[in-house]
Amino acid sequence: MPTTRRDFLIASAALAATTGARAAFAAPLTARAIATPASDPFVDELAMEALNAARAAGASYADVRVGRYRRQFINTRERQVTGVNDSESYGIGVRTLVNGSWGFASTSAMTRDGVQQAAREAARLSRAARGAQRRPVELAPVAAVKGTWSTPVTRDPLEVPIEEKVALLLSANEAALKVPKVRFVTSGMALLREEKTLATTDGTLVTQTFIRVGPQFTATAIADGDFQAYTEELAPRGNGWEYIQSLDMPGNAERWASLAAEKLTARSVEVGRYDLILDPTNLWLTIHESIGHPTELDRALGYEANFAGTSFIAPPEKFINKFRYGRDFMNVQADRTQEGSLSRVAWDDEGVPAEKWLIVDKGMFKDYQTTREQASLIAPLTGVKRSHGCAFADSWSSVPFQRMPNISLMPGEKDIGLGDIVAATDRGIVVKNRGSWSIDHQRFNFQFSGQVYYEVKNGKITGMLKDVAYQSRTPDFWNSMDMIGGAKSYWLGGSFGDGKGEPSQSNSVSHGCVPARFKQVNIVNTGRSA
């Protein structure tokens, strides 16, 4: 059993020499400095073999993604560990254009024969699709690029000893269990490292390493046949272990758990219209659902009609620079370069460099999220001929398609925070953290809830409420936003698991925002008598 780093290196070297497979994940369990990801000659060579085979099979364009995914999940409840799971997945996906039709095939057979066979299979799928193709696919131009990039982290979470991770979680649980009536606590973390090499027949060859961490904490309080759970909004991030440490879960758990206990005595909300004050810990998801998804161009064009749905922001010619999303202080930015964000890349899965652009500019809808295939479809309306770099495949075995970049509500000019908005409100409700969320398939009607709710009267928080959900219609909702926080109140939330596409793929995406107030929003009661 290779227990030292030296043994491991020897084993890896022997492995590389005999099978060519790279050392998978037997990195030592102790921390080490993170090297800049080097491109791997073996992977690069396999990628070239696949591209050559695709060309030989008739592809006018092909791209390949070699992925090596390392995922670790640690889960605990109360004083025990309920799971330590570590997985790696390694393989290649080949996408081909033959006569303007897409094909895709993937395999975990990482040999010359294996990848060539996948390339030929992809070309076969392209040909099969030809019989049901109305117009050939056209790709927006992109400059060939070579390089490497890695999420900047101080400490790779996969290299942190398992004892340290478990100790942190159990210590948080212990702190939570001190709170009277709190009987159950679950906590956990998802730690991901994804190495991805992209090679295209246009001459691009890039290798990127993405590191993401997602902590989790929920406390449940029980009394008199009732139970109330509280989940802290611990945003997943494109960061290293240092981010998990910065959350100080052991130091904060008692305070979080006390909110679960307090919910047992919260007053059930009276239905009606209130001024709604959304903390960034809740608003990020509302942005995701009601701005992020409807501005995906593939949804607007109907490509998602059979699954995730279409968009009310369609057809593009009736909405670009014509649709007022909100007041003139509303600016929404898409950004794949943002520090610490989940969808940060240097290049997307088509080799397009990461960029930022405005989705909503001074309240007006300005642009969609695009890939190389889509850019030309709206270029006459936006004047943008290049892709915005939104192609993403969640695995080597998945076909890349348009996925959401980080999309954020930019801070207002006045540097105010949640407290200032509360102070300026006569009758309202503050909502914190994500609860339940549901929105229709064109992104009009939504109903969202949170984890905790506070009643606001005459500029002051007067008590905790429960059973609250806010329900609205997207254009009405955003046009009712009359106050937003400034830069000091900006916070970056996000999700590891945004589903879209068939077969369904999962995207990680962040949304930054400031607290905001929405006038006279419909509040429903979700209590058991509803």
């Binding site: 059993m1 369990l29 049901a132 109907g302 509803a530």
Partner: protein, 470 residues
Amino acid sequence: MRPRSLFAPASPVAAAALLSREQAKALADRVLAMAKADETRVNISSDWGGNTRFAGGEITTSGEITDTTVTITSTVGKRRASATTNVLDDTSLRRTVDFAERLARLSPEDPEIMPELGAQSYASVAGYIESTADLGPEARAAAARSVITRASETGRVAGDVFVAGFLSANAGASAIATSRGLFAYHRDTGVDLSATVRTPDATGSGWASAGARDWRTIDPAALGARAAQKAVASRSPQAIEPGMYTVVLEPQAVADLIPLLGGAFNARSADEGRGPFSKRGGGTRLGEKIADSRVTLYSDPGDPDLLTRPFDGEGQPIQRRVWIENGVLKNLSYSRFWAQKQGVAPTGGGGGGGGGGGGLPGGLKMVGGTRTTDELIAGTQRGILVTHFFYIRFLDQRTVLLTGLTRDGTFLIENGKVTRSLKNFRWNESPLFMLNKIDEIGRAERTATGQMMPSIRAKDFNFTSLSDAV
């Protein structure tokens, strides 16, 4: 330097074909021979998938995937951890075994750990159908064209309709082996086809879907026609005031709701006072009437309509299990740990660890009536017909209160006939409440692979607001 391995032959375990029983056994034995832990479990999953997606009347993406993963779960004393890899040469497997063992040694003791299972006997379930496993890209493209062509013809009265859909075929072999002598192997196939048709005036949308183990039981053209008929009929929907209405839920709409009760049957949550079947003051509602007396809900891997894998991830055999019988709560779902603690038999579906029981393994079938959806409509004086639901989320775990929306065909029924198309609704409702407000249950129909659901006519379904979405 060109690595020599580029010229090595493809590894046999990475071939496109699924692992046979013998191959899976050989792979498991290789892994078990490397293990040094007190106990070891090997879970092998060997999968093929082929899919074709279409929109705007053309194929937009299609793909094929083959992969084999091996998960090694090592137990050292009361410490357990697992590691997974899809790199299957000896060196990588050995490294993964070592890694799982190192993780296990480093993990704290789990007071609820259960020993790995020894040899078990399983019912044989014939869920593998060649017609599905052989559904290649050309056949899938032809099926997509059938859907598009027939939907376009059927929808012609509304103009040039937009047709989108998805066809996905899968074949998989799964095997489990433990150092205590257990070996389980199962193969199955599944295929799902769905289509959405939208009218050019953007006021009508229809949907239809089918799921089966056997591709030959699915008629793509008929499915395309059904989606198009819905789209045409759903044009120009009218708004009616949200409120409590009698509903006729088509089997797909029922299938969107009933499986979400799965977590409610978790025995541990119920015993610990935090489940919908917890009794106020302690205990559970086992043996009590929790639904209309016509409702029966069960799981059974061997049911010819379900044909699911007869064991769970630990190798625990899965038997027929009746959850609700004639409205009475008959069974809860017990993990091996919780079953031992409570002195009952485990139901399977547990993944080990501290879970109380995992979902409802062995497929799901709800029975209670014999009539078709059309007959339920004919017997409705005034009500709302729902094709299916969308974006369902929990509002309250205590009551399984959910919110969601109707989608792709919502209609008013008056005097036994569908009279007009309605705007979609948001609703806040619990399937538990609904099962107590049943007017009539229809005949169970296949709604997905391993799932049979009836149409239902229920009173006072709580529609809370209108949606402009089409």
